[in-house]
């Protein structure tokens, strides 16, 4: 019995997409080790400290991905409403109870024994599925704003606000962008999306300038050489690391910018280490892998007959690829510094776990696509 079911799915799921995910995850593990070994040795007297945890999270993420592949996405969609409630509760717990853990001035982690858990990572994935099923149930038939849409949007606003208060302005912004993307792919009238975004605009500006460091980051972005030891520090060093890599890089493990020049380089700035150690060849390959991811994800979406499958597949694809693009834009200095991890490659359990789950869901959807 079990054998037949496995066979059915494995024959139909999108192999290129699975390959891309596997390649990114394995490559990510190598780069996490390379970029964190020195820091781990220094801080924990164990060079494998982060690499070992990444392995554990890859194993957990694989379980999540297999669950995503095996269990019908419609069931996950049905679970997305309670899931989103849970996410909001967890975000509140992180923010308002002692269970929340503050790292680097931001309250983002939930303590779960030795492991940390980031509810915002869960919220992003669940949000996409929740918004997709909300559109499916309440909007798409008539294609107009109605009262039924208001509660979900308020919930979304609550989630974004909680993330914003951590403070994680980048993720909050990103959630709005992803929601807009889901609405766009879900067939919501462009005028409705624009109206919504316009309505949000004043709040965004207030949020943007509420904290001096954000203004500073913007200013630094506009003039990076202004302050290389202050807020431009990471950007300056990430570009230096990239540039010094050249075409083929200094060689795996030979990068030097991971020697504390970029704080927490194995998380949000792992792309800079890739650039220094493997050069343009390495960074371009990563860009191509994400482009392939986008292509397969969108292809899966457009070949769906069911609205829900289409929107979830495209929405999750957009979630992952947009985050990758944003991370790479930050590291290359095209976008102001934001604390967003690079999906599958950065160290970070919650991100890896939910992104692998999201990939699993996309693959599940791919198994039920039209045969053209």
């Amino acid at each position: 019995m079990g054998k037949r079911r496995t066979k059915k799915y494995s024959h139909n799921i999108d192999i290129p997409l699975l390959t891309v995910v596997a390649a990114l995850v394995v490559f990510g593990l190598v780069m996490v080790y390379s970029s964190s070994a020195v820091i781990a040795g220094e801080r924990y007297h164990n060079a494998y400290f982060f690499a070992f945890r990444q392995v554990i999270w890859i194993m957990a993420g694989s379980v999540a991905m297999i669950a995503g592949i095996k269990i019908d996405y419609r069931k996950w969609a049905a679970l997305s409403r309670p899931g989103f409630f849970v996410s909001i509760v967890l975000l509140a717990v992180v923010l308002f109870t002692p269970m929340g853990r503050s790292v680097g001035g931001a309250q983002r982690w939930l303590r779960l024994g030795p492991l940390g858990f980031q509810p915002s990572e869960m919220a992003k994935v669940v949000m996409v599925m929740y918004m997709a099923s909300t559109l499916h149930r309440k909007y798409i038939k008539r294609r107009e704003f109605n009262k039924k849409l208001l509660p979900p949007l308020l919930l979304l606003a609550l989630a974004v606000f909680l993330v914003y208060r951590q403070p994680d302005f980048g993720t909050a912004m990103f959630m709005i962008i992803v929601t807009a993307g889901v609405f766009f792919i879900g067939g919501v009238k462009v005028s409705h999306i624009v109206t919504a975004v316009m309505a949000l605009a004043p709040f965004l500006v207030i949020m943007l300038f509420a904290r001096p460091y954000r203004r500073e980051r913007i200013m630094t972005f506009l003039n990076p050489s202004m302050d290389i030891y202050g807020s431009g520090f990471q950007l300056f060093h990430s570009i230096t690391a990239l540039g010094s890599g050249g075409i083929t890089g200094l060689g795996l493990g030979s990068g030097l910018h991971k020697l504390f020049y970029i704080p927490e380089v194995h998380t949000d700035f792992v792309f800079a280490v890739i650039g220094q150690e493997l050069g343009f060849v390495g960074t371009f390959a990563v860009a191509v892998l994400f482009a392939v991811f986008a292509w397969r994800g969108m292809k899966i979406a457009v070949t769906q007959e069911e609205y829900l499958g289409r929107v979830i597949a495209a929405g999750l694809t957009f979630l992952i690829v947009a985050q990758a693009a944003l991370n790479m834009a930050v590291v290359t200095g095209l976008f102001p510094t934001k604390g967003l991890p690079l999906p599958f490659l950065s160290f970070g359990g919650s991100s890896l776990f939910f992104n692998m789950f999201a990939a699993g869901v996309i693959l599940n959807i791919s198994a039920s696509c039209r045969r053209d």
Partner: protein, 565 residues
């Protein structure tokens, strides 16, 4: 708008963004690569050049160490960075010998950087090596030590506060001894700590130089000891001894008094840094008769047994009287040397003429650098004949109006011992640097006189020691060739010879039939009733020769004397 169009638009946007990122990556990583590479290197490389190399060692010909280094460490601590840690407390307590409680309170004080200990022995700070990255500073200090001090202090020299050679070999071989500082390119992390070292191969460090001298510490000790013994008998303002191997030109000992002790640091009186046998100019007195006689014999202007009218002890040339210490009426040329007759030698010089005397003085190496590799050597004083006065010819013939150094005199005497060939003096045997050995050879400068002439002079000098003025220089069982000398000191202030200031000399070599050592003994301004070379210097020669015979185990060469040895 259907899903395909929207998905297509989204896909287009995504691809456009990735394309933009890729263009940016290409620009940063490929086009601007050089600039960012330089920038990155600036950030994490430090070139450290001030790692002072250990100075090279100085050794005698037998490998006895005359100068080497001792390392000590100064221990400093940055309590704020070190923090209180049990291992560090134990290590510091053990190495400094202070109670743990004291260390603990210092560490917890959070105070700024301070030194804990100066000049600690390497063994004491061994336990602190592993804490060098956590607030402990170990600064190595080089100390120059001279294990045999004060032996040959002036020749070895001394180093200044910056470890630069200030005198002697330390100065003249500075380029080898100082070494090349190790230039290290270090990769440092963002916290300024050194992560690993990259030794710059284009400039290898060098701190293993070894300068081997021709000096023999044993003979040097003998020479210094015998100077002191001699000074007990006759007080003097200064004294010098050179022991040279005539066949090779090697200086085996070069002692002088007064001297300083280089283990006590740089002397206040910087004149003491001068190596007097190299730098001091004096009149050679009667010892110079050797060279006048050699010239005259070589030019066949005199015969050994030819009689000279010694005018009963007074002979006036150019209005100035020349006096003999012992008045004689007639002396053979051999006896002129034996009794050191100034009048006989002046008449010999008259036959030679100014140019020939000058030529032989030059050829024996006077008035020119010997080329010894020690600092401060002068040419000496030997004017050209066109600037000689009417009395110069006769006075130079017995060693006045000419200024020589002890090294010049030793080399000239060695030329006679060596069958007429003048060699350069040699003080450095070899220099070894990182496995490369540079040997120094003493060059034969020129043949000054023929072997036959040299043998004639040799016989006369043997007679001088056996029967004549040099009798107190004799050594039982060994034929000694030599000549005494007593020169009045020329006072540069009054421009006259000082009445009571003398230089007492003896220069000679032995065994005369197969010369092994040339020894020159010079006492400056001896005091007391007897100030002649025969009384002051000749016995010191004899004492040094006897000690050297036993030290070097030189076999006696006079058969009849074998039994009595």
């Amino acid at each position: 708008m259907n899903i395909k169009v929207r998905a297509g638009m989204m896909m287009f946007a995504i691809v456009a963004v990735f394309a933009l990122i890729s263009v940016r990556l290409f620009y940063v990583q490929v086009i601007q690569h050089g600039e960012y590479s330089r920038r990155a290197r600036r950030f994490y490389t430090v070139v450290e050049q001030n790692v002072t190399p250990s100075r090279g060692r100085i050794l005698d010909r037998n490998g006895i160490v005359l100068a080497e280094n001792r390392h000590t460490y100064s221990v400093g601590i940055n309590p704020g960075r070190a923090g209180v840690c049990g291992d560090l407390v134990s290590a510091l307590s053990a190495s400094l010998g202070k109670p743990r409680a004291e260390i603990r309170s210092l560490l917890s004080s959070g105070a700024g950087f301070r030194w804990l200990s100066r000049h600690a022995e390497p063994g004491d700070v061994e336990g602190l090596y592993s804490f060098r990255d956590s607030g402990i500073v170990l600064a190595r200090e080089n100390h120059r030590i001279y294990p045999q001090a004060p032996l040959a202090s002036d020749i070895i020299g001394i180093v200044g506060t910056d470890n630069q050679g200030l005198g002697g070999i330390e100065h003249s071989f500075e380029t080898y001894l100082r070494g090349i500082p190790q230039k290290r390119t270090m990769i440092r992390d963002a916290r300024g700590r050194t992560v690993y070292l990259d030794v710059d191969e284009t400039s290898p460090s060098r701190d293993d130089a070894e300068v081997y001298l021709t000096l023999d510490a044993g003979l040097q000790y003998i020479a210094e000891r015998e100077i002191k013994e001699g000074l007990k008998r006759v007080r003097a303002r200064g004294a010098m001894v050179i022991i040279q191997e005539p066949s090779s030109g090697k200086i085996l000992a070069m002692a002088s008094y007064p001297n300083y002790d280089n283990s006590f640091g740089v002397p206040e009186n910087s004149d003491l840094l001068k190596i007097k046998p190299v730098t001091n100019i004096f009149e050679p007195g009667s010892t110079f008769k050797i060279f006048t006689a050699a010239g005259a014999l070589q030019e066949s202007l005199v015969e050994i047994e030819e009689q000279f009218d010694c005018e009963g002890g007074t002979y006036t040339v150019g209005g100035f009287p020349i006096r003999d210490f012992e008045p004689h009426d007639f002396l053979s040329f051999r006896e002129v040397m034996l009794y050191s007759s100034n009048i006989g030698m002046a008449k010999t010089a008259e036959r030679m003429g100014e140019n020939i005397l000058y030529k032989y003085a030059r050829n024996f190496g006077f008035g020119n650098f010997t080329g010894i590799r020690l600092p401060g050597e002068p040419r000496g004083i030997l004017r050209k004949p066109d600037r000689w006065s009417g009395t110069s010819l006769s006075r130079i013939s017995f060693g006045q109006e000419i200024g020589v150094t002890a090294v010049q005199l030793a080399c000239a005497i060695s030329a006679v011992a060596n069958g007429g060939i003048l060699r350069e003096p040699q003080i450095v045997e070899k220099v070894s640097v990182s496995g490369n050995v540079r040997r120094y050879e003493s060059l034969a400068v020129r043949r000054v006189v023929s072997e036959e002439t040299a043998r004639k002079i040799n016989d006369m000098l043997v007679d001088t020691v056996r029967y004549g003025s040099g009798v107190s220089a004799s050594v039982k069982g060994y034929p000694v060739a030599g000549k005494t000398g007593t020169a009045q000191k020329f006072d540069p202030e009054t421009f006259h010879y000082a009445k009571d200031k003398y230089v007492a000399l003896f220069g000679g070599y032995f065994p005369a039939d197969n010369p092994r050592l040339t020894i020159v003994v010079i006492f400056e301004e001896p005091e007391g009733p007897f100030r002649w070379g025969s009384y002051v210097a000749a016995p010191v020669f004899s004492n040094i020769a006897r000690a050297a015979i036993s030290y070097l185990d030189i076999a006696p060469t006079l058969p009849s004397e074998l039994a009595s040895r």
